[in-house]
């Protein structure tokens, strides 16, 4: 291996690692606030890519069919509205129904309608990205409301099984909406420049810079805004946060919105780099998890660093032993767990 290949692999690794880092942050965030091990995060990544791909013009004309994500948003908005209606009726909170329906059904429907309309006209790439992000991000809170909120008090184990079930459903729906063929999205830029002897593609640089920008924005959100601090408080102590007026449902909804946005963004970022299939999400999310586990599912900086490590390891593994790329990446989890297990002070009690 010469220096240029080495540099190329490092560049690849850092680019992928930056995307996994976003994912790892989303996973730590979701786990901390809601105790959900969010396996279907990977489907949000693929939905991000594939929705954007479905918005691309075919033969210089807008696509004949709007992305299936719109149908999913509509369907889930109807189900969420029905659940809110039933919940309000059952608790004798009839006057609240209009506001709830506005939030849970009307708002997503407006977003879906706007996306449907925009999908039929010619748009610049950045506007297509906004549409794709809006659609996939809307799925986040809807998913929380439908699948997780009714089980908010259940054990981590039950929530994990729900996550796996949701992963199954979303993967199957992905196949239904986007088909079995993989897609790539157009690059943000095909330029590259020389940095000494190394060629750096502007695309990679953009990916890394966007990730860093998002991570910085997150740090500001959690460090400086009241709402961010409220979410952190919920993560530390759910009952306590509830007592001082932070609603767990609102915290869950907000977390899933933010996490869905991060994942959809990851999808938009990897779209031009790799071909994404309807079932690519699972492996992507698990790589995010390997990163997050390095941070013990609690530490944001360690999770981001772990995700970088995963990206680099993957890049080098695909060079040396491409068939065993996944084996090598997932075997990394063994020494990490061993280390964590040996340094764990005592037996930890599970919640029930």
């Amino acid at each position: 291996m010469d220096l240029s290949i080495f540099a190329l692999l490092v560049q690849d690794g850092i680019t992928n690692g930056a995307v996994y880092a976003l994912l790892a942050l989303a996973l730590v965030l979701v786990f901390a606030v809601t105790r959900v091990i969010w396996i279907p995060s990977g489907e949000f990544v693929t939905y991000g890519t594939l929705t954007l791909a479905a918005l691309q013009p075919v033969n210089n004309a807008p696509p004949a069919q709007p992305p299936g994500t719109i149908a999913l948003v509509v369907g889930m908005a109807v189900v969420a509205g029905a659940m809110e209606f039933i919940a309000c009726a059952r608790h004798g909170e009839i006057p609240r129904i209009p506001v709830r329906l506005l939030k849970w059904t009307a708002l997503p429907l407006v977003i879906a309608a706007a996306a449907w309309w925009l999908a039929r006209i010619e748009l610049p790439l950045w506007a297509q990205i906004v549409v794709a992000l809006a659609l996939v991000t809307t799925l986040g809170p809807l998913l929380y409301r439908i699948a997780y909120q009714p089980l908010a008090e259940a054990s981590v184990l039950v929530l994990l099984i729900v996550s796996v079930a949701v992963h199954f459903a979303l993967t199957g729906l992905g196949l239904l909406f986007f088909g079995a063929e993989g897609s790539r999205t157009p690059p943000f830029s095909s330029e590259s420049f020389q940095l000494g002897a190394i060629t750096v593609s502007l695309q990679s640089l953009l990916v890394v810079l966007t990730s860093i920008g998002l991570i910085a924005a997150l740090a500001l959100f959690f460090g400086r805004t009241l709402f961010g601090k409220a979410l952190r408080a919920t993560a530390l102590n759910r009952v306590g946060a509830r007592l001082v007026g932070v609603s767990p449902n609102l915290a869950g909804t907000a977390t899933f919105t933010l996490a869905a946005l991060l994942c959809a963004f990851s999808g938009v970022l990897i779209g031009p780099i790799t071909t994404v299939y309807y079932d690519s999400g699972f492996l992507v999310s698990l790589k995010g998890f390997v990163g997050a586990i390095i941070g013990g599912l609690v530490s944001y900086p360690l999770a981001a660093a772990g995700a970088m490590l995963v990206g680099l390891l993957e890049a080098f593994a695909s060079f040396w032993a491409s068939g065993f790329k996944e084996v090598i990446v997932f075997t990394l989890i063994i020494p990490v767990l061993l280390w964590r297990s040996l340094t764990a002070h005592h037996h930890e009690e599970d919640d029930e």
Partner: protein, 592 residues
Amino acid sequence: MTRARRLPFGAIGVVAFIVVLAGVPLAAPQFWVTLGNYVGLYSIAALGLVLLTGVAGQTSFGQAAFVGIGAYTTAILTTHYQLSPWINLGIGLGLTLALALFLGFITLRMKGHYLPLATIAWGISLYFLFGNLEFLGGHTGITSIPALDLFGIELRNERYFYFLIWGIALVALWATDNLLDSRPGRAIRALKGRLEMAEAFGVDAARLKIIVFVYSALLACISGWLYAHLQRFVNPTPFGINQGIEYLFMAVVGGAGSVWGAVVGATLVTLLKQVLQDILPALLGKSGNFEIIVFGVLMVLLLQFAREGMWPWFARLLPVRRPPPVPDAEPMPVRSRAVAAETLLDVRAARKQFGGLVAVNDLSFSIRTGEIVGLIGPNGAGKTTMFNLISGALRLTSGDVVFRGDSIGGCRPYQIAQRGIGRTFQHVKLIPQMSVLDNVALGAYLRGSADVTRAAFRLDRAEEARTMAESARAISRVGLAAHIHDTAVSLPLGKQRIVEIARALASDPALLLLDEPAAGLRFLEKQELALLLRQLKAEGMTVLLVEHDMDFVMELTDRLVVMDFGEKLAEGLPAEIQRNPQVLEAYLGGVA
């Protein structure tokens, strides 16, 4: 779950089940025999998850990978090295044992979500290994695996193979059901959400979790071995992570609390998949594995509305079997009784700091055999922290606790239990759906020795009879004989507290630690409790009582230790304490 609910099969039910089961290969068309074979194979693998997930509260997505280990081991060894399938079964089980031990060791000492995450990763790794290693046949797999030879009969015909699969499945069901109704079984049931309690009665929880994980992996390996010789062909697909997830679905659909849930779940999932694969592509006009959409949605609904799965629904149709009478067996050996007035427990300058907060500040006191000592103090005085330092739930920052001459300062709760300290919990920790008898029998855990193997094959019955008789005696001793077969959850709080005392008594303790036994009790319940404690004292039991109800301790105890702000405020006879101005000030804020 009571014994009555766990074994609801009347004789008729069992006979009907076996007749239908045996009738399939004799009368049904080929399609149903094939389906029956798969349901049998899946039941064996799902059974492991019922135990691991439903009973022990852990979970694994690696079940399919262990099935793969069983299948590939025999596939390679029969085709490359012409070894007998029966030898390969042993080798596969050995390999599975080693792998499961390793995975269990690195994940099960930590929080519950590391095992599922690690098994996902390992399941995927193994799938890619199967697919990429040349000598494992790559993605095309391994063909022409020989048929099984059983007593000279070659099992080439699926109809014959059916009997082998279901024979093994029934043995596995029987053994696992036996296991649940035994000494290790009671401990396994306590692993789900009652870890602290289990450890306080001598269960080494981390070790037991690993054993359960290994047990479930071994069942998966057997299923894979059968699969390889039934199909006589293996490729990586059926051992991927999606199949691992489907095994978990089977366990959840069936009802992860009963061994029969495995059969119900395997049957329902297999049939549903068959139907969906037929109709969905036609309905949607596309080909693909769309059944996963329905599976996903159904699972979410099931977890939201029927977390116990479908088995309880079937069980309701079956006659309830009455619990058998408790056998009369000879008592279990008791530990040597301490000499009266010997110093039993000696707390020496015990200290506990949480960061900068000193919860217990160099506290010293001792208890002599036969005494009832009360540890009292206002809220936040550090009583419960002190209690946890003795029971091993918390670690001392400095100082020591000496019990019968041995330092127990650095011991884990189960080691402290081994030395003869029995305890109750401030927040009652019984296993809600288990009978009073079984709950109390868990207290006698350390007095028995039956392990998983002996329990599974019913070699533990003599010891079990003595355990039951001993537990029944403990229940009579506290006056709850009338409730012996009731579920713990059906009793009012006062009685549940007394069941906790019976459980502690079943451990044959030299010292009984009671953590706020009167908290939340009504007046009459308190009187009954006081009566029981007096009776225990008359029988020579030594008791440390942590309590903040002054009236309750005043009439009961021989001596009181009063704590305030982590320090010892006073020590003495109840009458002296009652007049002690410092104590009055701590309790009443100086009004007196």
